[in-house]
Symmetry: C2
């Protein structure tokens, strides 16, 4: 394995001092980049991009060619697991994902098996190996998966749903046996998937709990957090783990208690309060409102500086947005953001 | 004025002991009730319901005829103020509100005036007087308005928007002069509107900050909270005030600091933590996930009991959902909820 030339991101995850705050951007390989749109058009289909290691590698590296980012993140989709389970994923960018065979009954749950990460999801491991080779140790590579609750939500709803999650929440309050059986099989799948990504070479692992914030506090603990805690515990300390529950600001202490290396923060959480509440036992990743990237560059610089000040000088901060970058952003604004983070306050 | 026969709600707002926890339900006069749908069909148009005092009174009272609720809430819409400002409101239930003339420039802001609550919004005051008469002191009546930030968001977006609030957030980070001028005129309008509702007879006032939770912490303070604080301060102590920022769990202390009587909680906030963080200086209102109402009745009863236990025995809790009730709910489930609250733990 090639030694890393830039380990700022990994040092920050371990709460070690760094020469400057590391930065990467959720969805940094995405539609705001014209070169991404070109590759995407060539591929013809979003899933083709994910499933063709050469193309996944190409788009993973695109933002690094433009910006001095401190980490790469595997280009993939959180729904590769339900797809590998046979639910028939299709993704229409701009509309969202659709599962042709959603999970609607106990019998549907009974039919689900754990996908073999080296077979059904072998394309992801191949992409990781290729990206690692192409990166040549320039920066670390982040692997990821959706959280069990988030995947289960998509699987029950059959897609992005109405943000009320009527079907999935009916399971929370009425079909707990089927729901927990579903969460079990998804959790086992996520663990074996993330272990396979790790064996293929990723340097850190992130779990995206996009819909955890839709749950009531107690339901979050039972249906999302306990399964993420099991993932963290099964993965152990071999590579750092980042947990991110969007809208999870009320539960930061419990997220930190899982033993993860870092907690992702959305923009509603004041960084100083997060630190006060969870101390220095984990690193923090976040948390600029992606909307700031639409502002004039001087405002972006000002907001970056304010964010850096709010996180303070103690080690253990990875700069990021509080959610994924949106397709309408001007790449020059991203360049300004990255430069401002590296300049510091 | 008729003396109140049931003042549980007002006593709880003042954190005084009550014989049983008072309960009302956000959007309790709404589409889940067949009698509401009948009146709505007779009116032909949602705004006609709001603007005809007799119809507004009729639907306000409908849930009270079914359930032993401890408060009535004026049937109206949060967008009556932008409508009275001349922005041309239309509401297609199921799709959402539309403003024909959104606010898109400094010149658009310059044109806005404060509506006369007794003239442009006189129909609301008339409805309040009629409802108070028809209630005959059975329970208190809640008046309300949208928060300045929430109204400004609708005014800039021209409707419910995409939940990313691209236009409104562009103003937060790029058009601060125009935005704050807009927030000023809206705040002045909300204050005079709520004072008029109070003069017409409402017993408590609630401010709905539906979109405050979309803001970053600092932006929330500047663009939403400071204006709500001014409203609370201008209204004084004549009637109790409730502030509710959906998704505002990170900022409870600051909301309580405004001097309001009660803070509304959505379901992501654990009640015990809310109490620990803000103490007993305000009452708390909330916070059952509306999704629970889709569960079988024994589960509803169980979740109500768990919520009551979580709020604890200290005075100052008003039971409510963490957001409005949805149209698909069976009224019998609402009856079970209200009965379970009154039975207690």
């Amino acid at each position: 394995m090639t030694a890393l030339q830039n380990d700022r991101f990994l040092r920050a995850l371990r709460r070690q001092p760094v020469d400057r705050t590391p930065v990467w951007i959720m969805r940094q390989a995405g539609r705001y980049l014209p070169e991404y749109r070109a590759t995407r058009a060539r591929a013809g289909d979003f899933l083709k991009l994910c499933k063709t290691p050469e193309l996944a590698c190409e788009v993973t590296l695109q933002p690094l060619a433009r910006f001095p980012l401190d980490a790469a993140i595997l280009f993939s989709d959180i729904l590769t697991i339900p797809d590998a389970m046979g639910l028939g994923l299709s993704i229409d960018e701009g509309v969202g994902p659709r599962l042709a065979s959603p999970v609607r009954s106990q019998a549907d749950v009974d039919r689900l098996g754990v996908p073999d990460p080296h077979d059904d999801l072998g394309y992801v491991c191949d992409a990781v190996r290729l990206i690692k080779r192409e990166l040549g140790g320039r920066v670390p590579l982040i692997g990821f998966a959706g959280s069990p609750w988030t995947l289960a939500t998509y699987m029950i709803e059959g897609g992005g749903g109405d943000h009320d999650f009527k079907r999935a929440k009916s399971w929370v309050y009425g079909e707990t046996k089927a729901l927990h059986q579903l969460l079990e099989v998804v959790t086992t799948s996520v663990i074996s998937y993330l272990k396979a990504q790790r064996e293929a070479g990723v340097d850190a692992l992130m779990v995206f709990d996009t819909w955890g914030g839709a749950l009531a506090a107690e339901a979050y603990r039972e249906c999302s957090l306990q399964y993420m805690a099991r993932i963290v515990s099964e993965l152990g300390d071999a590579v750092p783990t980042i947990l991110f529950t969007k809208g999870g600001g009320s539960w930061l202490e419990s997220i930190a208690d899982t033993g993860c290396s870092a907690v992702g923060l959305d923009w509603t959480v004041p960084p100083m309060e997060a630190r006060r509440r969870i101390g220095h036992r984990v690193a923090l990743q976040g948390n600029l409102d992606p909307a700031v990237l639409r502002a004039p560059i001087p405002v972006i610089e000002q907001e970056v500086a304010a964010t850096l000040r709010a996180f303070g000088p103690a080690p253990g901060h990875i700069f990021n947005l509080g959610h994924g970058i949106t397709p309408d952003i001007n790449p020059e604004h991203v360049a300004a953001l990255v430069a401002a983070v590296h300049r510091g306050v």
